[in-house]
């Protein structure tokens, strides 16, 4: 076990070095920060004598109308109650998350396809330590990104006399834990498939499924019974990082620190379960494509 961890650490450090000497991570981070910048500046420009007025900024007008139509006015009211940072955080984090997850999935699939993983398993590492290294690299870069986003938004808040808000801080912690589960699903997708393209397709399939189910639960409805889709989404929810993320947000909103910690634990457990499933799949399928 310690050898596997050592191997993972060594491979992860090499992967980290590769990530910081290639442009991808910087570009993803910059796209996130620019999106955050645009949203914060837009929010500050859409304030009038009565408060935040969506109609004063074309992008916010579009966002508010779209979100209200899909999820209802209450959703939008809560999203912007503390300021722009909750929404800006999600928008800014998305390109970073997608870049890290998709690049790892692609790289893992590619290396498995060309036999690099197989070659490595003849040496000191096994397939599990190899994917754990990817996971470690992604978690560390996510941590770095979260710190950068926090620093950037704190500066933006100070410049415009805005506040980050308690839900922003809660979300910052939650998205880090949720991102770990997403990376774990990326690894599972890589292990279950034989090529880079199919692993990306499967991974995106996972994300879209979780996103659709989560959006479905937020979508305004007019009927009580949601029958089959309700049952299906109930089952999928137990596997979805977004479900636990939402539970954590709801617990924090109610002021329940116990519920919030439970949701973090649930995300950790989900990550562990998915990684273990990847380990089992790797053992069954082997490292050959």
């Amino acid at each position: 076990m310690s050898e596997r961890l050592h191997a993972s650490r060594v491979i992860a450090s090499r992967r980290l070095l590769e990530a910081v000497i290639t442009p991808g991570f910087y570009i993803a981070l910059m796209i996130g920060l620019l999106a955050g910048y645009y949203l914060v500046v837009g929010f500050a420009g859409a304030i009038d004598s009565s408060g935040f007025n969506f109609q004063l900024h074309p992008i916010y007008d579009l966002i508010a109308r779209s979100l209200s139509g899909a999820f209802g006015a209450t959703f939008v009211e809560k999203l912007f109650a503390e300021g722009p940072f909750l929404f800006a955080l999600y928008v800014a984090f998305l390109p970073i998350l997608l870049y890290l997850a998709v690049s790892s999935v692609f790289r893992f699939g590619l290396e498995k396809n060309v036999g690099a993983v197989e070659l490595l398993t003849y040496g000191p590492a096994d397939g599990t330590s190899y994917f754990l290294a990817f996971f470690l690299k992604d978690v560390l870069l996510t941590l770095l990104s979260v710190v950068v986003l926090l620093a950037f938004f704190a500066v933006a808040a100070a410049m415009n006399n805005l506040v980050l808000g308690p839900m922003f801080l809660v979300s910052l912690v939650l998205i880090f834990f949720a991102a770990m589960a997403v990376f774990a699903y990326g690894i599972l997708a890589s292990v279950l498939t034989d090529s880079a393209a199919s692993s990306i397709a499967l991974f995106i399939g996972f994300l879209v499924l979780f996103l659709l189910v989560q959006m479905g639960s937020f979508t305004i409805v007019s009927r009580y019974v949601r029958s089959f889709s309700g049952l299906l989404s109930w089952i999928i929810n137990w596997l979805s990082p977004l479900f636990y993320w939402n539970l954590g947000l709801a617990a924090a909103e109610m002021g329940g620190s116990g519920g919030f910690l439970l949701s973090l634990l649930a995300l950790l457990a989900l990550t562990g379960v998915v990684l273990y499933a990847s380990h089992l799949a790797m053992r069954i399928r082997g490292v050959r494509p």
Partner: protein
């Protein structure tokens, strides 16, 4: 001939339009629901396609079963009831099956509901049976005595005006005749117009005329309901009315006694906004003072609350929403500005005046009952919070009449001024690009070196 065609075409088109605007009415069995929504009663009904309706737990709600015409009104996007054309209330009973599984039969009861004056706005009362008749009778007596007092007032007013005219005429004639009118003028000056009687203030909402309905006061849970009518052939047998089987979802408040604020900017008093989320921040641009009205609010499930108020409404099943109930009575607001000690602001009456000149608009000024606003009512009662652009952060806390802070009653007002350092923030956003350039340059140098 062409003109004839044109007229015929216009008539046909108009007829087509008229038909298009006239929605198809369908005869249906409906439950007409008068539900208590936390602050007052709102009416809704269930169309046949609706599988459920929603009620709040632990309060009296009124239900009637009737046959009526329903139609979809596309302009507002909701279902409407044409009870003027058909409104047949069914005689019968309802059968409720709750979480315990044992059916419970309910009969119709006579009832009235009303809201009496009190310290709080919410003093709803429901009377049933003889008590309902007594409440209605009492209300009628109050109204009748008021009308009698008004009649007496009209008579006194007429007598007063007659005497006034008489005296005026006599004084005029005597003056023309150059005679002494001192006594008559004194009498004229001493005359006082009779005071009109005060309208009854016993009720905020007077009792509704006594009606019959099934009164549902249920604990939280899901219930099945169906309406039973006596079989015409066999009066001992009860049969289930077709289309009457529905589900009742009885829900409760998630949190109660939260504090929200109605925020009225001085330059847009007709467009107030609400601050409901306890952690919300009031961002303003500092160009106008704010007038605040704190209110109590309760938190409900969005879908359940919306569907309770209107059964065909939409809502978000996974979100909770705060619902404004009533103003906080005798509240005071503690205001803390940077560098200042806490100040206490009290509620005061204000009057809205139209700005003269081409600029139009309104301004809110303190209500002056003796001077400029004599014989008028204040436009609003609120807490004035002066705002200046250099204020930065103003912290608020609602306190009750004893001065104790009310939980969830804290807010921040932040004056947002567009930062001149926006360029710097943009540069910060592109820092990763600069770091990337440095790293790649170093890497390139290392490799080529």
């Amino acid at each position: 001939m062409k003109r004839l065609y044109a007229i015929a075409f216009s008539l046909l088109a108009a007829a087509g339009l008229a038909r298009a605007e006239d929605p198809v009415r369908r005869e249906q069995f409906v439950y007409s629901v008068l539900a208590f929504n936390g602050k007052d009663y709102s009416g809704t009904f269930t169309i046949e396609e609706a599988d459920s309706f929603y009620l709040m737990a632990g309060v009296d709600n009124f239900l009637t079963a009737r046959k009526t015409l329903v139609y979809f009104w596309p302009i507002t996007g909701d279902w409407k009831m044409d009870s003027e054309s058909l409104n047949q209330v069914f005689e019968g009973k309802v059968e409720l099956t709750g979480p315990g599984g044992r059916p419970l039969e309910l009969q119709r009861e006579r009832y009235t509901y009303y809201n009496v004056q009190g310290e709080y706005e919410l003093n709803w009362k429901v009377d049933r049976g003889a008590a309902a008749d007594a409440a209605w009778k009492r209300y009628e007596e109050i109204v009748n005595s008021y009308y009698q007092a008004m009649n007496r007032h009209y008579e006194a007013q007429a007598a007063y005006e007659t005497r006034l005219n008489e005296l005026s005429l006599r004084i005029t004639r005597l003056r023309e005749a150059k005679r002494d009118v001192t006594a008559l003028v004194e009498e004229l000056k001493a005359m006082q117009a009779p005071e009109p009687p005060q309208p009854p203030r016993d009720y905020i909402v007077p009792p509704s005329p006594v009606q019959e309905a099934f009164i549902l006061k249920l604990p939280v849970g899901e219930y099945r309901i169906r309406f039973l009518v006596q079989d015409a052939a066999e009066p001992d047998r009860w049969r289930v009315m077709e289309g009457s089987e529905k589900r009742i979802v009885v829900f409760e408040r998630r949190r109660t006694n939260g504090i929200g604020y109605e925020v009225i900017p001085a330059d847009k008093w007709t467009r107030p906004v609400d601050s409901k989320t306890p952690s919300s921040v009031l961002y303003v641009d500092g160009t106008a003072d704010l007038y605040l009205r704190p209110f109590f609010q309760d938190e409900f499930n969005d879908l359940a609350y919306e569907k309770m108020r209107q059964n065909d409404a939409k809502g978000n099943p996974d979100l909770l929403k705060w619902v404004r109930l009533q103003q906080v009575p005798q509240a005071r607001i503690q205001v803390v500005r940077p560098g200042d000690g806490p100040q206490e602001v009290l509620e005061a009456p204000y009057y809205v005046e139209q700005v003269k000149g081409a600029a139009l608009g309104y301004k809110i000024v303190p209500f002056d009952p003796q001077g400029a606003h004599k014989d008028r009512d204040p436009s609003l009662r609120a807490f004035q919070i002066p705002i200046q652009r250099q204020n930065g952060v103003i912290r608020l806390q609602v306190r009750d009449k004893t001065g104790a802070p009310l939980p969830g009653g804290g807010r921040q007002i932040r004056v947002v001024v567009q930062s001149r350092l926006r360029g710097l923030l943009f540069l910060l956003a592109v820092v990763p690009l600069a770091v990337m350039a440095v790293v790649l340059a170093r890497r390139s140098r290392q490799v080529t070196g």
